[in-house]
Amino acid sequence: MQNETDKEYAVKSLHSAPLSWVDKYADYLYGFAMLRLRNEDVAKDLVQDTFLAGLQRLDRFEGNSEEKTWLTAILKNKIADFYRKRSTSTLKDLNVTDAEHEQQDFFDAESGHWNEKHRPQAFGLEVDNPLMMKELGSILNECLAKLPGLWFSVFSMKHMDDLTSELICTELKLTAANFWVIMHRTKLNLRACLQKNWN
């Protein structure tokens, strides 16, 4: 009987924080994941996995860092795992010559000049107009969501997490040549998508 109360007490004090996690951190963690995934279902799954993993490791949380920082670190690892898995499964199917081939649609195969219909045109954008920039941002978000997963991982690791190209190549098992082909293709596609959907 005494044991029972002790146990109850221990559970209560240990777990008093986790019950407030969703209120305190779910939106933040979801935003963190969405910035790096642009996929609602995957982001939700990883946030849930993060909380559950946090529960499993509660005894190892020593309170040295903020709960939020600690949970974010767990989520970061989960995103990195997801990137790695996605890369391995994509690379099996990814043929760089295919990539090059697709790119030739933007440019004339012989001369490397822009093909008429892909030629960049001015967006007619006022960069100091916040409403216009917001609109551009939401179109860009849609374009980002349409990118092949591996390309988005590469682009996000480079620009969101500011990692070096060497580190990204190691993480995702890419060659340097592959990395730059992907960076180039990604930007060509994003730009074309913006031009198509702007106005």
Binding site: L19, M34, G112, H184
Partner: protein
């Protein structure tokens, strides 16, 4: 000018590749020169470069709170956590 060099200078595919490489990494002195000459004569690639940098700027300006979880999902999350706590 040799035609090989001409082809290199007037190649927009190559130029846009170098633009990306310069933005996200680094390019050699020879590549810098090549790109410089190309951009001086190619307004289309200058537009590309401007828009490419704009895309990066907009991309890094997104924030966590641009994305919000729906309440229904939060509710199921809380339930799952409660269940997990009881289980242990």
């Amino acid at each position: 000018m040799t035609s090989a060099l001409k082809n290199m200078i007037y190649n927009c595919k190559q130029a846009t590749f170098l633009i990306e490489k310069r933005i996200a990494g680094k390019i050699t002195a020879a590549e810098t020169l090549l790109l410089h000459v190309h951009l001086a004569g190619c307004s289309v690639c200058r537009t590309y470069q401007q828009q490419s940098m704009l895309i990066n700027k907009v991309f890094i300006s997104f924030e966590n709170n641009d994305f919000k979880l729906d309440e229904a999902f939060k509710k199921t999350l809380i339930e799952k956590i409660e269940k997990e706590i009881i289980k242990n």
